[in-house]
Every structure is written in structure tokens, then in C-alpha cells.
Amino acid sequence: GESVGLHLPTLSVQEGDNSIINCAYSNSASDYFIWYKQESGKGPQFIIDIRSNMDKRQGQRVTVLLNKTVKHLSLQIAATQPGDSAVYFCAGLSNSGYALNFGKGTSLLVTP
């Protein structure tokens, strides 16, 4: 079955630096991925998504890269701000197309 996981459990960056959060997946049949941000006590918040027919997608201060050859995706956050401190999850869509499979998450801490 699908397995989605993150490389690092925690990441600490200084305010203003760029952040890169990585994610690996095992199921090559997955064709849709979403990055979510979850702040303490809140539900996951949609950040950006990417489909398997794309290598890169950009949003406001965020970029997602997808490397299907090595089954890896990353989330880049430009000019990281204190408000970016949260847990970040990548989620892949299962073969059925209905259930999102989440990894454990990476905790991003932005220091002044």
C-alpha cells in the first residue's frame, strides 16, 4: 500500500531564511499530493497541491517540487516568518482517489 513519510521530524530556521521540508512516497501510482500546515490546536490547513504530471508548482512564498523518479517531493518556503511555525504534513492520494495518506509531519520552528 501507499506510504508517505517525511525525512526529518523537526526543522529550525531563522526568520528570513528559506525553509525546505522533504517528503518521500512509496506508491508510484499516487498522482496527487497536498502539503498541509497544522498549527497547535487547529485542523490541517491546505497550502499547495501538485499532480503527477507536473514537476513544480508555485504559490505565494511556497513552492512544491515533485521528483517522480526518486518518489520525492519537497516544500520550499521563502523568507520564513514566525507565523510559519507549525507542523507540516505531506499527503498523498491513495489509488482509490478518495483517502489521503499522511506522514507523521515535520515541525518547523522559526526563530527570530
Partner: protein, 113 residues
């Protein structure tokens, strides 16, 4: 435009009891998925409802059941509560339930004593 809403916010139950959690999807959405998130873990898929039927189910026992109403809102029921059922229960709504964005509610924090 109202987002996904869930009630109650917090709930405390004892082992063996039953609980019902409620979810209203984002305006315009017709599909509701339920997830369980244990502390420090990613959300785990419980099931998805579309057109008032359970369309897919994750690896959860039959103690977990649900319902979707004609107005697309949904309930999650858990019977014979166990200590291990303590978690944040998240509802996510989407359109058609396919490979599209799933928007999450704030969750219901369930504590089983």
C-alpha cells in the same frame, strides 16, 4: 463563505460509552471524510461519505460508523469507547471526493478516561 465546522470542540467520555461527532462541510461541497489524529501523528483515514453512502473505509473497526445527511452534513459515531480512541477527530470536505483539495475543520478533541 463558511468553512468546515465541527462540534463539539472538546469531549470527555469514559470507557465503554458511545459518542457522536458532527460535521458540516464547506459551502458547495458534497463529500465528507473523517480522520483520526493521535497526538504527534498524522491523520489516519477512517471513512468517506458521498451521496449519503460510505464510499471507502480505512482500517478501523466496526465500532466506528457514520452517516451523511441530505444536506451533506455528517456524523461520526464511536461505540464501546476505548482509551486508545482518545484523539483529535478531523472532518474534511471536498467536491465529488476525487483527487481534489480536501478542506479540514478544526477537529473535535475526544478524551476517553
Amino acid at each position: 463563505d463558511a468553512g468546515v465546522t465541527q462540534s463539539p470542540t472538546h469531549l470527555i467520555k469514559t470507557r465503554g460509552q458511545q459518542v457522536t461527532l458532527r460535521c458540516s462541510p464547506k459551502s458547495g461541497h458534497d463529500t465528507v471524510s473523517w480522520y483520526q489524529q493521535a497526538l504527534g501523528q498524522g491523520p489516519q483515514f477512517i471513512f468517506q461519505y458521498y451521496e449519503e453512502e460510505e464510499r471507502q473505509r480505512g482500517n478501523f473497526p466496526d465500532r466506528f460508523s457514520g452517516h451523511q445527511f441530505p444536506n451533506y452534513s455528517s456524523e461520526l459515531n464511536v461505540n464501546a469507547l476505548l482509551l486508545g480512541d482518545s484523539a483529535l477527530y478531523l472532518c474534511a470536505s471536498s467536491l465529488y471526493g476525487g483527487p481534489n483539495e480536501q478542506f479540514f475543520g478544526p477537529g473535535t478533541r475526544l478524551t476517553v478516561l
